[in-house]
């Protein structure tokens, strides 16, 4: 009698318990409570919408040159003023969101894929391959990251695509190291041993158990890395090593604007503000995600 009631109540209890402590729900609740994180997420969402709806929002194209209207101050017609070619800066900043977000997402995605692959191989297989990959990471981290990016672009030639590749490459070791250390700790868990004992293949263990267990830190690190990637892309653009004219890349816009600092300071206000806000958004969101998903990483 006793046993049968136990059996009945057990699933219900388990379900209840799951509802109460589901880690995703817990994380979402903690994220929702964090005002700074929500502000960050709102800023990010805002820029994503701006980027997607750019053709609707922007009153003019990115390269509509009207020379009689060059260097006009901000007004009702041109909210952010016009640049030295008479182009509407507001429209260019709006379209610029596409470039910056695209470069940020794509570069970080690239470094996550390659970094995870190398990190998993290093952490799971160990031995000489771990030593080799870890040393390569050490060497890459021995360069100040922007310098390595500059070096890569100097070799490949300046362009937005090469800037993206460079940013993806310099971020690989960060993800690689992160995943490697996760794999090393997860590998020793009993359920991995159990999976091995029942003859599960390495690739399945990696994909089904180790990778999902490493997802939280990747999301956190990834969000923060997008912030850095956007700044790095803008920095390369500013140095003339990224986007080519007439692309409205924010960093490139700033470097063009610096020649008109005295006559038309507004040409440099808005692109810079856009970079700062986007980066701030990703940083705030990343910090919030870290506190919600992975409290251990706090320091």
């Amino acid at each position: 009698m006793q046993i049968s009631t136990d059996k009945k109540t057990q699933p219900a209890l388990a379900a209840n318990e799951e509802k109460a402590i589901s880690p995703r729900l817990e994380a979402w609740r903690s994220f929702k409570k964090n005002k700074l994180a929500l502000t960050g997420a709102t800023i990010v969402l805002f820029f994503i919408i701006v980027a997607i709806c750019a053709p609707i929002i922007a009153p003019e194209g990115i390269n509509d040159q009207k020379l009689p209207q060059r260097l006009l101050a901000p007004s009702a017609d041109h909210w952010f003023g016009t640049d030295d070619f008479g182009r509407d800066i507001f429209s260019r900043v709006v379209y610029g969101a596409r470039i910056s977000l695209w470069v940020g997402f794509l570069a970080v995605l690239g470094s996550i894929v390659v970094g995870c692959l190398l990190g998993i191989i290093a952490g799971y297989y160990g031995k000489w391959i771990d030593a080799l990959i870890s040393r390569i990471f050490d060497i890459m981290l021995a360069f100040p990251s922007i310098l390595l990016a500059i070096a890569i672009v100097a070799v490949l030639g300046p362009s937005l695509k090469n800037a993206l590749i460079a940013i993806a490459i310099i971020n690989i070791p960060n993800f690689g190291r992160l995943i490697r250390s996760r794999v090393l700790s997860v590998k020793e868990e009993e359920y991995i041993m159990a999976a091995k004992a029942i003859g599960m293949k390495d690739s399945r263990i990696l994909l089904q158990h180790i990778l999902p267990n490493s997802l939280a830190p990747i999301i956190v690190q990834g969000t923060l890395a997008i912030a850095t990637a956007i700044i790095e892309a803008a920095a390369l653009g500013f140095l003339g090593l990224g986007a080519e004219a007439p692309n409205p890349e924010w960093g490139k816009m700033l470097s063009d604007a610096k020649n008109f600092m005295i006559q038309a300071p507004w040409t440099m206000f808005f692109p810079g503000l856009a970079i700062m806000l986007t980066v701030l958004g990703f940083n705030l969101m990343g910090d919030g995600l870290r506190d919600a998903l992975d409290p251990r990483m706090k320091n």
Partner: protein, 334 residues
């Protein structure tokens, strides 16, 4: 400590080897014929052949690499294609300018960052704490090239308080001894010039200091908050010790390790930021040296510049690790 130092130095060997290898292959990774790319489309065959020979590209790569590393050990960094002078002689004035700028930036970042962090922790949840932490958040997200431009616009163009760019008054150049101008002007007793050099240093140092300052402030605050919760702090306060001493002596002493680490890490990162800052403020440092070399496709200068900066970066990180071990005895047993 000795064994740890040795181990840490041994770990340096593969990193330095890798560094030299990457920098060495940089020029060889240029798509197409490097000599052709450097000289451009209009170059004659003879010029290309000569440059190929000068760069040693006509030899097998292992011979080239052996020569290159051999050269490095004897202090030979190659020859600039543009100025035709040895890079090892040319590089010091640039390096000195960067060292001076980075040092100033770090002093500002540490002084303001650490104190802001301490006061924020001391008066947790006060308006100062909120303001400082919001500023720190903005500071971390600040594109320093934009901050630099804004500084120029406000302080040089509108207020006319500070010079827009450069390192010295062009009409009254500093006669260099060490190439660290603050030192040089003091050595020569030229206080007017010293003041001028300081005025040139202010804006680029602040721009460069912003991000490390923000990060140092945040870490200092969180570490101090943790320490100030400990029992011995409560004891110190119970003894009737003045809060100032509790904070600046007892707490800070115990919070010093994470703060020191972050300061070290940020010092290394400054070198990267220096490239951008130097470009904006026409600061003749190593970053600008490399940047200009990219424009002239002066690959030997790019290579050696990057190698020197990366080498300094590695050395700073090593020093931080060793200091870390010296302060915290637990490290070396790991």
């Amino acid at each position: 400590m000795f064994a740890y130092t040795i181990r840490r130095l041994l770990m340096l060997i593969p990193v330095l080897f890798g560094l030299s290898l990457i920098v060495f292959f940089m020029i060889r990774a240029i798509p197409g014929d490097p000599a052709q790319v450097i000289l451009g489309q209009l170059a004659t065959k003879e010029a290309i052949a000569e440059l190929t020979k000068q760069l040693g590209l006509d030899q097998p790569w292992y011979t080239q690499y052996a020569n290159y590393v051999g050269g490095l050990f004897s202090g030979d960094l190659g020859e600039s294609l543009r100025t035709k002078s040895p890079i090892s002689e040319e590089i010091w004035p640039y390096l000195a300018a960067t060292i001076e700028l980075s040092f100033c930036a770090m002093v500002i970042a540490v002084f303001i960052g650490v104190n802001a962090g301490i006061i924020s922790a001391w008066f947790q949840n006060s308006w100062f704490d909120y303001a400082a932490m919001v500023l720190a958040l903005v500071g971390v997200s600040m594109p320093i090239f934009w901050l630099g431009l804004m500084e120029q616009w406000v302080f040089a163009i509108n207020l006319e308080w500070l010079p827009t760019s450069g390192r010295e008054e062009v009409r009254d150049p500093v006669s260099a001894i060490t190439h660290i101008y603050t030192l040089d002007t003091l050595l020569q007793g030229r206080l007017d010039q010293f003041w001028d050099v300081i005025r040139h240093l202010v804006m680029p140092s602040i721009a460069l200091a912003t991000i490390p300052m923000a990060i140092i402030a945040r870490i200092t605050r969180s570490t101090m908050l943790e320490v100030m919760k400990s029992d011995f702090i409560r004891t110190a306060r119970a003894k009737g010790l003045r809060m100032f001493w509790v904070v600046y002596k007892h707490s800070l002493k115990n919070a010093v390790i994470p703060i020191l680490t972050i300061i070290g890490l940020q010092t290394g990162l400054l070198l990267g930021g220096a490239i951008l800052t130097e470009t904006i403020f026409s600061w003749p440092g190593i970053g600008r040296y490399i940047y200009e070399a990219i424009g002239y496709r002066d690959y030997p200068v790019i290579q050696s510049g990057i190698l020197v900066v990366a080498f300094i970066f590695v050395m700073i990180n090593l020093t931080v690790d060793l200091m870390y071990a010296a302060v915290d005895p637990r490290i070396k047993y790991q």
